[in-house]
Amino acid sequence: MIKPYTEINKRIKSGDVVVVNAEEMIEIVKNRGIKVAAEEIDVVTTGTFGPMCSSGAFLNFGHSDPPIKFEHLWLNDVHAYHGNAAVDCYIGVTRMADIRPFEYGGGHVIEDLIAGKSIRLRGNSYTTDCYPLAKVDTEFTIDDLNQAILCNPRNAYQRYACAVNSTDRILYTYMGKLLPNYGNAHYSGSGCLNPLCNDPDYETIGFGTRIFLGGGVGYVIGEGTQHNPINNYGSLFVKGDLKQMISEYLKGVNYEKYGTSMFVGLGIPIPILNENLARKTASKDEEIFTDVVDYGVPRRDRPILKKVSYKELKSGYIELYDNKIKCSSLSSLFYARKIANELKKWIEDGIFFLNPPAEPLPKETEYKPMKQTSELKFVKDLKRTAVICYEDCDIKTVAEKIITQNMNHIVITDRENHLKGIVTSFDVTKAIAEEKTNLKEIITTRVIITTDNEPIEVAGRKMKLNDISALPVIDENNKVIGIITSEELMQN
């Protein structure tokens, strides 16, 4: 059976079109079979509503009098990018306000703009003969703009990794707040409602596909950046007229200690052109898998701990190392469904038509890591020999070592060289002032450590976060094999 786009659009026009959302399609195929579903269902709608950092908007303000060519400009104190013509700019959602960072950012500016709120525009210029104005400080609303175009280089990931944290401290990431020792798990994506999951071979989604974007009509304008179809991490480059959109479907957000982003509401209709598409749009959560990834490892290639289905993710718990871990989403399933249903209504009401893509999305794009020309340095490259005292020695011995070895940090071990603690010259000074003699009274036993293969930047961040200036280097048996201090980092 083959059903052409013209046939489907004819049915939309006459009001006879049969549209269901991707969750409903599962039931229909289950109850009536693929063949009947393919014949009876014309369109399956999908939706997703989650944080999409690679988003932003092009704005055009019109010319001032006398004219200005912006060099720098701010919208509600959020720096917008200017590298185009005089009064064009791009406001990106992760850029944070200069005065209210980690609270208000580009995504909030876009949300406020759509909500009709007044936005403060400040800009400056080096001035030219044709653009003599040096400074602008004004206010505008979306109605005052010539164009306001949402243009998102990477949206609607086919799936996303599920994040957990193996370390002993809380991590604040773009995957939300991750509790230590695998205390919780976060995932993103709507699973069986996700647009690309319903057309994984890009039969109908491609350049020019008309979509639901932020409550208005938008278009797919190509594959997203980092598009990685081979590993089922496809993504989309989309645009749409911000002036049509509503703030319910574009929400500025901030993740604690990570920064700002924006929730984007996006829905794509899949025309059921053939039985294959009926089958694909009926794919269930239990058939869509993603990786559980340890965000405790601060490297590009984080360890994959296991595979997990969206069914398990949506159940609220995942199994990991024989434990049940509480799991929740960062994206909203309620709004994903609402978007799919809204799009369904548009099609049923005859105000949204489907079109074949001008070009299909690429299926074999290579996803490459960054080429880094400067060599990555590790702790093992910069560490030095640790000055060690045994745990049963007295404070005087430690003090002597500090003087003779000219070292501020003395690592305390047992006779087998296992790490037991650390004592600094300040601890010793304080002990003398307080007339303490027992090493046990001044030793720090909860020591922040590093290992040979930790990148220098990671070790440096540990020192900064904990407000300390040295980290003992230990091997897999907790034996001390060196020390790295802020001095080495500074010399680096």
């Binding site: 509503f49 939300g176 982003s261 609220g316 509480k326 929740s328 989403s329 960062l330 909203s332 399933l333």
Partner: protein, 131 residues
């Protein structure tokens, strides 16, 4: 009904008439409530009050105005206007006080909240407030 834990500091409540005055101030709002527990602590009299869920804000604000301490241990409130039903707070809640209902909308069971406040800085929309 839901439970709040309040302390009447020693300086504020000196005798039985002070105590009646305080209770009458709550009764003024035409709210019926139960006193579940009455005990004296190091800083004053501790009361566990069982109050209607919808009146939490009115009562706590009134108490605070009268120098009654509403103990922070416990309890957040969710601003439904700000919440976008994402779920970023749910995995952090050790008691399922924060959970999705059958429509995948965030629901908060106040009586289950133990006040660990782990969720407080997890909300990307600042919809969770400490009481």
């Amino acid at each position: 009904m839901t439970i709040i834990n309040v302390t009447l500091p020693f300086g504020v409540i000196k005798d039985i008439s002070d105590y009646s005055r305080f209770i009458n101030k709550i009764l003024k709002y035409d709210i019926s409530f139960n006193i579940l527990k009455f005990s004296t602590g190091s800083s004053g009299i501790n009361l566990l009050l069982d109050i209607p869920e919808g009146k939490i804000k009115t009562i706590t604000e009134s108490l605070k105005k009268n120098n009654i301490i509403v103990n922070k241990k416990g309890r957040v409130i969710i601003d439904d206007d700000k919440c976008i039903d994402c779920g970023a707070c749910i995995s952090l809640c050790p008691t399922d006080a924060l959970h999705f209902n059958s429509e995948d909308r965030l629901e908060f069971s106040y009586e289950k909240c133990i006040g660990c406040l782990l969720c407080l800085d997890s909300c990307p929309r600042y919809a969770i407030e400490e009481m």
